[in-house]
Symmetry: C2
């Protein structure tokens, strides 16, 4: 599995440069079947990955999953900070959004995504989806031996660091906010923090429609942030992968005195630290990215460009 | 299977009155397995249902499926027009929305929904989901022997009937509009019709957020309908189950000279005609409704109330 840098674990080439057309691969079996088939060898190699800083393990890719497209904002920060690493991105586009689903279903889907990436021989897993990180991270970590990094703790740390007054606003999907995960993470770091949260379900479809700087976006953001602004927060934590695309709008609505903290940036920094601590950072080669989706890839590729530009030019469909 | 009026095909009681609490039933197996297990007997009973206007078949329930919650607007019109019929509603809430999915996936999910309802011994199937009706209706009908009614043809007929000038606007999800199904259906009926279509992806989340009469709703609707209004349409066809909840807003934005045609109302009328033609209308008893969802039912019940009021007080979860 994933011995060199040029070939992915299951024979799917990891490309240095994007190809110019959308590739729709034949379905390679149900994800569970794929993962279960190599369970023993996967667990062994995962253990190796965690505990041995061998050259072989350093060249393994980093796995990133999200419920769909939004995690590309996390991948963007990861590739900016770690240009020498290979990445495998899985977007569960057939089953998005996770933000309105029940915890039980989110945990089940998150575990399936994890199994898929583990079977690809990754050395570290990034749960880019805020909802999965909020609801399923413990469960994922319990069944995984490679290091797992979600977006909640890094985001919470960055928000606590940024805030002077301790009045922190957190926005996210219904499920992320309802989970209370950001509130707990911030309170663990700073017990006397005043945390104001708000679910903003309309912002994801707004971003996917490409409406990030029109009047409707402004009014919607204003409506959602009204009470947070009135609470006197000095820091706003963006608890959803889509929200960095509305960053300028948040800044306009909240004014210059409120700092915007982006979980994606904080998460990339946490990944770099973890790789360094485990001596798992890649030393040469690398820089490849491959994309897997559970839906036909055309919408992912089209909307994905809004997130990280022309780099998303191909994605491989897997069956669910 | 569904011999009497009080007991559903799989032993789930069909209730005359809503129960007062949410029922989360144990998963009753994967849908495919359930449906496949009784394939032969189902096909036989389906044939019977279609061709024999027996007392037994008349008391069978009508099956309705949608990608989620929106189909409740169709159910609302159905129960208003056919208060003596039993209904089984399936909302594929774990996999909504269908509107942004590929045709292949929409067809697959629609067939699974159909199999589930056929296994419940329905006498007629209503595809309440515009996206499924637009993309998968032929495929569903090919594999089904009970009568199948989608929302596209009834909606198109009502729009053609309502329009004096033949300038008809159609709004819907991305997939519905991209399918061209409404355009074809209208052109079949009135070849010289001028049809103006517009995908309005933000309207579904807007309705589910409950924002149907605030300023953001008004601006979003205005934005989407601007070009349709400028085209001089005299009729607007609501090609999405969620849109009836924005009806007052459409009327406000378009003014009194544009008629609003609701596919849900037209579909209920088409179902009544079909039952009468096949002598399958129920003669006494009936009036029960049961709800199945593929996600935990709490969000369905909560948001569903916005669609048809307090009648949605319970839903049974099935496994997907």
């Amino acid at each position: 599995m994933a011995k060199g840098g040029k070939q992915g674990a299951s024979g799917v080439p990891l490309r240095k440069r994007p190809v110019s057309a959308v590739t729709i691969a034949a379905a390679n079996g149900r994800m569970n079947a794929t993962a279960k088939g190599s369970r023993t060898s996967r667990l062994q190699s995962s253990l190796t990955a965690q505990f041995e800083a061998s050259a072989d393990n350093r060249t393994r890719p980093i796995g990133v999953f999200d419920s769909g497209i939004g995690g590309l904002t996390v991948l963007k920060e990861l590739t900016a900070l770690l240009p020498g690493e290979d990445f495998i991105y899985l977007g569960d586009t057939a089953r998005l959004p996770y933000g309105t689903k029940s915890n039980e279903v989110i945990v089940r889907y998150s575990r399936e995504n994890t199994e898929f990436l583990l079977a690809k021989g990754i050395k570290l897993l990034v749960v880019a989806c805020n909802t999965s990180s909020a609801v399923a991270l413990d469960e994922i970590a319990r069944h995984t031996t490679v290091p797992v990094i979600g977006v909640i703790d890094p985001g919470a740390q960055a928000a606590v660091k940024a805030s002077r007054t301790g009045k922190i606003g957190v926005i996210g999907t219904e499920a992320t906010i309802a989970s209370g995960a950001y509130t707990r993470a911030i309170q663990n770091l700073k017990p006397r923090a005043e945390i104001y949260t708000r679910a903003c379900p309309l912002l994801v479809p707004l971003v996917e429609e490409g409406w990030t700087d029109n009047e409707i976006a402004e009014r919607t953001v204003t409506h959602y942030l009204e009470s947070l602004k009135a609470s006197g927060i000095d820091t706003l934590l963006l608890g959803c992968t889509h929200y960095p695309l509305l960053r300028a709008m948040f800044e306009r609505v909240l004014g210059p005195r409120v700092k915007i903290v982006d979980s994606a940036i904080a998460t990339a920094a946490a990944v770099r630290e973890k790789l360094a601590a485990l001596k798992l950072a890649r030393r040469n080669g690398g820089g490849a990215q491959s994309f897997f989706v559970t839906e036909t890839p055309d919408r992912f590729v089209r909307v994905g460009r809004r997130f990280i530009g022309p780099r998303v030019e191909s994605a491989v469909r897997i069956e669910r």
